[in-house]
């Protein structure tokens, strides 16, 4: 059933060109811009030597800002609403790391559970993730293995690429992936037995690389639950400055805000807009009255950590954190979710 191919690295651009031409895909890949690895529409040359992108690819299905509908209302009359749906462009995202593929799985659950989110779904069904296995030593902040992932995981990806030096091993994960590999003009060649052997070895070595770890992650949900009222949270959040880096860069944070943005006053004209929001901001949960159920950084740090390691697990049977390490490496004051979970677990009998 599985489809495995080999791609000469020199012909990566040919495949991308074929996808654009034959499959009507708009291809995106990581590019280094102003010192930041960012997904960009592919220009001439694709580099895939990125550690990981600063921002996960979640914006392809859940952009930081999107218009839901526009409204126009003459005073005293009924408003006219015009739904704005995302453009149906198919987007193929190259170079997605396995932790971010697993992030997509979790986002999919959130936006399909209970009620379908029409905007997320409209985008998501047109996005394909072409993953890239991590076969170089992990970053100091990587911990995917301890949260159920792996540097070669295919979860959430449509295709997994593995760097074999001068060529990529290309493995289909989904039907979409297969179609992309079989696109007209594709330069992919059949994988030889030696290639398969080498991939196995490379994957084995990648998985064997040592990483930091959340200790005993299976016990984390219960331990966190037991620690809800622990004074430890206050100490752990002591340095927290309440910015939005940890959540905005997280591949699984999905919280959002809805606001009306005006474009005219007579008649009333504007758009209802969804933007990312952030549980670390004080106004996130603040009631109109000023009462705030999560009124300090301790409560807000606890929310973030418990959401990742307890609530999500209780609701969906999996940890929400995928171990990408962005919140650890980018925190201005060194708050480290691995250390936080481990410390809390240690303190619970």
């Amino acid at each position: 059933m599985s489809m495995e191919k080999i791609l000469d690295k020199a012909r990566l651009n040919d495949w991308i060109a074929a996808l654009a031409k034959g499959g009507d895909w708009e291809v995106h890949a990581p590019a280094l811009e102003d010192g930041v690895w960012t997904y960009k529409p592919v220009g001439d040359a694709v580099r895939m030597d990125h550690p990981n992108t600063k921002q996960p690819p979640k914006g392809f299905s859940f952009p930081q800002r999107e218009v839901f509908f526009s409204f126009e209302q003459i005073k005293g009359e009924a408003p006219r609403l015009t739904q704005v749906m995302p453009d149906p462009k198919r987007r193929a995202v190259f170079g997605v790391r396995p932790c971010d593929g697993r992030g997509a799985v979790r986002m999919d659950r959130v936006f399909a559970d209970n009620v379908n989110d029409p905007y997320y779904q409209a985008r998501r069904k047109n996005v394909a993730y072409v993953g890239l296995a991590c076969n170089t030593p992990p970053a100091a902040t990587c911990f995917c293995k301890s949260v159920g992932g792996s540097p070669v995981s295919t979860d959430g990806l449509d295709i997994l690429l593995t760097d074999l030096g001068d060529r990529y091993h290309v493995a289909a994960v989904t039907e979409t992936g297969k179609a992309m590999m079989a696109v007209a003009g594709s330069p992919l060649a059949d994988a030889a037995a030696a290639d398969r052997k080498q991939v196995k070895q490379v994957h084995g070595e990648a998985v064997a690389q040592p990483q930091r770890a959340v200790n005993n992650p299976e016990a984390a949900p219960a331990k966190l639950k037991a620690s809800f009222n622990s004074p430890l949270w206050e100490e752990l959040a002591r340095a927290c400055i309440g910015c939005g880096i940890c959540t905005f860069l997280c591949p699984t944070c999905h919280c959002f805000d809805l606001n009306d943005e005006m474009t005219g006053t007579v008649p009333i004209k504007g758009n209802r807009v969804r933007t990312w929001d952030n549980c670390q901001f004080p106004d996130f949960t603040m009631h109109s009255s000023g009462h705030n159920p999560r009124e300090n950084t301790a409560a807000r740090l606890r929310q973030r950590v418990c959401h990742k390691f307890q609530y999500f697990h209780e609701n969906f049977g999996m940890l929400q954190c995928t171990g990408c390490g962005r919140c650890v490496s980018e925190c201005p004051v060194g708050i480290d979710i691995v250390a936080v979970v481990n410390k809390v677990a240690e303190h619970v009998a």
């Binding site: 943005e261 474009t263 504007g270 758009n271």
Partner: protein, 143 residues
């Protein structure tokens, strides 16, 4: 839909209540001819101008922003226009620093008796804004 209208710059003019606002009134009652491009907003004192007002005017689509107050020495609150001079110098510098055209932002001192000067200030401003075309750099993106 409509025929190609010649471009008319939109100016938001923040005028101090004590001098420039009266100056603009005088320009009107004296029937001095000057362009109708400026929408006046009366503020208590040029010193009460928040830089936010200026940025917000540009955000809402102003092609130019004018702040006008009493002449140095004539401030109703003694030193408001001294403070405005310093604060708005910084705003002006910062706007230019990020690449907004120098002529988009202007300050003037116009007394209650200087209707003709106010008319001239607006006239000059319109003439200087015209070649710049509409201001898009700071304008709100809503789509």
């Amino acid at each position: 839909m409509s025929e190609q209208q010649p471009y008319e710059p939109k100016i938001v003019a923040f005028l101090c209540k004590w001098c420039s606002s009266a100056g603009s009134d005088l320009a009107g009652v004296s029937r001095i001819q000057y362009p109708a491009n400026a929408t006046p907003i009366t503020v208590p004192c040029s010193g009460s101008m928040s830089p936010m007002y200026i940025l917000s005017a540009f955000n809402k689509g102003a092609d130019g922003v004018l702040v006008s107050g009493c002449h140095i020495g004539d401030c109703h609150y003694m030193e408001g226009n001294f403070l405005a001079r310093r604060k708005l110098h910084l705003v002006k510098e910062l706007l230019q620093f990020i690449g907004v055209e120098e002529n988009r932002f202007r300050m003037s001192w116009v007394s209650a008796a200087e209707g003709a000067k106010y008319a001239q200030v607006v006239k000059d401003f319109v003439e200087d804004l015209r070649p710049l075309g509409s201001q898009e750099k700071l304008k709100a993106q809503r789509t």
